[in-house]
């Protein structure tokens, strides 16, 4: 139980940290923020890898795990790449001078 309380504690602190971090992002960068944070939510891949790799625990959990790996990897790879593509265009503008 105490381990669960620690996890909950971590969760609450991380929520506050998130609010602090994100409220400083200017509206121009809201789209890249969204696609970039979406890529971060692909962190579920960590759980998916373990499920897909635990082959001794039955077929169904491996199938589910492998599917989860596919979805999470799409999320991670696609999310980071597209955010990078977008931000590359924003960077160009720096020659025009920062706002």
């Amino acid at each position: 139980m105490s381990a669960d309380i620690l996890l909950l504690f971590t969760f609450v602190l991380a929520i506050f940290l998130g609010f602090e971090l994100i409220s400083k992002v200017p509206s121009q960068l809201h789209t890249p923020l969204m696609s970039g944070s979406n890529a971060i939510s692909g962190i579920t891949i960590v759980g998916a890898l373990v499920a897909a790799g635990s082959v001794t625990e039955g077929t169904l959990s491996v199938v589910l795990g492998t599917l989860a790996v596919v979805f999470a990897t799409i999320n991670v790879v696609g999310g980071y790449l597209v955010t990078d593509r977008m931000l590359a265009m924003f960077k160009h503008k720096e020659q025009g001078g920062p706002r």
């Binding site: 121009q28 692909g42 499920a51 706002r99």
Partner: protein, 467 residues
């Protein structure tokens, strides 16, 4: 030893995510921030592969398939399709969390049969599957609406709230049954309520998103973004993994903040956006016209612009639809060459997702320094010679300021009607998403430039070049 190493790697990953998000706070550092965040993800993935007893064939297959699909999609998607792309990817994140929750339940079933199931893990499995399911199907509907594969109109039917309420009540019953019987290997006891809850979650996602209209999509995408983070969080509680909880919480908070910003920019509550079916009435409710809108030709518009010293562009969703951003930037440059001061004002809810217009203007190479916020431009709108509204409607509707009976009354707008002259580029006189008549069109200083926005702007560009 290995476990400690993996945990340390997770801490490193979390730190990189946090720095990455912090650096997204400025355009200068944003790209590096995103790459740091990606590095954090790589570290987390590689560390996980050191978990004892993992077999790699399925992992490698899954990563190769997912990586190929993700990379191909990311490289090909045009900037104008970014809202539906982000919506779809939110959904994939939700689906991944749902599948992880399910896989963990399946893996633990035999363990729990011998040894009682831990309460928190079972609750977390339920939440990962439920939130993940709502996120997935809701995102698919949002994707369909944004890519116009299904109608962007709000879909309402009688008793919708009752049906949704029934689904939530059903889900709660399933939750109780599942939590009481999760360690019971008999399919009918634990698995049945689990699967029913999953199906209810998918149904709820569809029913909750369908009544929300196109222009409210910025709120919906933000909210689904938040859900995808919370689903990852729940998956983190399932496997007792801190990095999932921290990252999921960061994303959840980010989505919540964006949701709040979008609601404020429309002066509406989240409940109103989610449940009212706003805009469902279409243009039918629009009252009588208060006068006559005065059309203008491209040629006459050119003469006005040619003499202007200060011009403000106000882009909206119509600019994205017409793909007019490059033509707009070209016109802006010609106006500058002609000696005018040119700026662009983006309303927070213009377009179909937060920051949508900014990405398009960035794609067209519009410099940062020319972007102005509403609060900065409104007080000096009187000194602006021409305000050019491109495919925006409700965000420039003076009714939001003047008419207490208007359904968008109180929403902050760009006061283009205070400019000396205002041009509205529009296909027809149809009302905006909110279905309210726009008194701007009938103002003395307003001229309508009818036609496709891109064609109209290109016409103006041609006039400048010929001169």
């Amino acid at each position: 030893m290995e476990t400690a190493f993996i945990q340390l790697a997770y801490i490193a990953a979390a730190i990189l995510f946090i720095f990455g998000l912090k650096m997204l706070g400025s355009a200068k550092t944003a790209r590096r921030g995103n790459r740091l965040s990606a590095l954090g993800m790589l570290i987390a993935v590689v560390a996980t592969l050191f978990t004892q007893g993992l077999a790699f064939p399925y992992i490698v297959a899954g990563v190769l398939i997912g990586g190929a699909i993700g990379a191909a999609a990311a490289v090909r998607v045009p900037m104008t399709s970014m809202p539906e792309f982000v919506a779809l990817f939110n959904g994939f994140g939700g689906m991944a969390s749902l599948l992880v929750g399910w896989a963990e339940y399946q893996r633990n079933l035999s363990v729990w049969a011998a040894d009682a199931a831990p309460f928190v893990t079972v609750l977390a499995i339920f939440l990962a599957v439920f939130i993940g399911g709502v996120t997935f199907s809701g995102s698919l509907v949002a994707y369909g609406k944004l890519s116009e594969k299904i109608s962007g109109k709000p879909l309402l039917f009688k008793g919708q709230h009752i049906v949704n309420g029934g689904i939530i009540a059903g889900a709660l019953v399933c939750a109780v049954l599942f939590m009481a019987n999760a360690d019971n290997p008999a399919i009918a006891m634990g698995y049945a309520p689990f699967l029913v809850a999953g199906a209810l979650a998918l149904t709820l996602g569809v029913l909750a998103t369908a009544p929300i209209g196109g222009a409210d999509m910025p709120v919906v995408i933000s909210l689904l973004n938040s859900y995808s983070g919370l689903a990852a969080c729940a998956a983190g509680f399932v496997i007792g993994n801190t990095v999932l909880i921290v990252s999921g919480a960061l994303v959840g908070a980010s989505g919540m903040i964006l949701t709040t910003i979008m609601c404020k920019a429309m002066n509406r509550s989240l409940a109103n956006v989610l449940f009212s079916g706003f805009g469902a009435a279409g243009g039918a409710a629009g009252g009588a016209q208060q006068g006559e809108a005065k059309p203008i030709t491209v040629e006459d518009a050119y003469f006005v612009l040619e003499a202007a010293n200060k011009v403000v562009f106000v882009p909206g969703y119509g600019m994205a639809v017409a793909q007019a951003q490059h033509a707009v930037r070209e016109l802006g440059e010609l106006l500058e060459a002609n000696g005018a001061e040119v700026s662009y004002c983006v309303h927070p809810v213009a377009g179909r997702m937060p920051g949508h217009m900014n990405v398009l203007l960035a794609e067209a190479n519009v410099p940062y320094e020319q972007l102005v916020e509403i609060e900065d431009i409104n007080p000096i709108m009187g000194t602006v010679d021409v305000a050019i509204v491109i495919g925006a409607n409700d965000v420039v509707n003076p009714g939001a300021r003047e008419d207490p009976t208007s359904s968008i009354y109180g929403m902050p707008i760009v006061n283009v009607d205070h400019a000396r002259t205002c041009f509205v580029l529009k296909r027809s006189m149809a009302s905006g998403f909110a279905g309210v008549e726009n008194p701007l069109f009938f103002k003395e200083n307003n001229r309508m430039l009818f036609g496709d926005a891109k064609a109209s702007v290109q016409g103006l560009v041609a006039e400048f070049k010929d001169a």
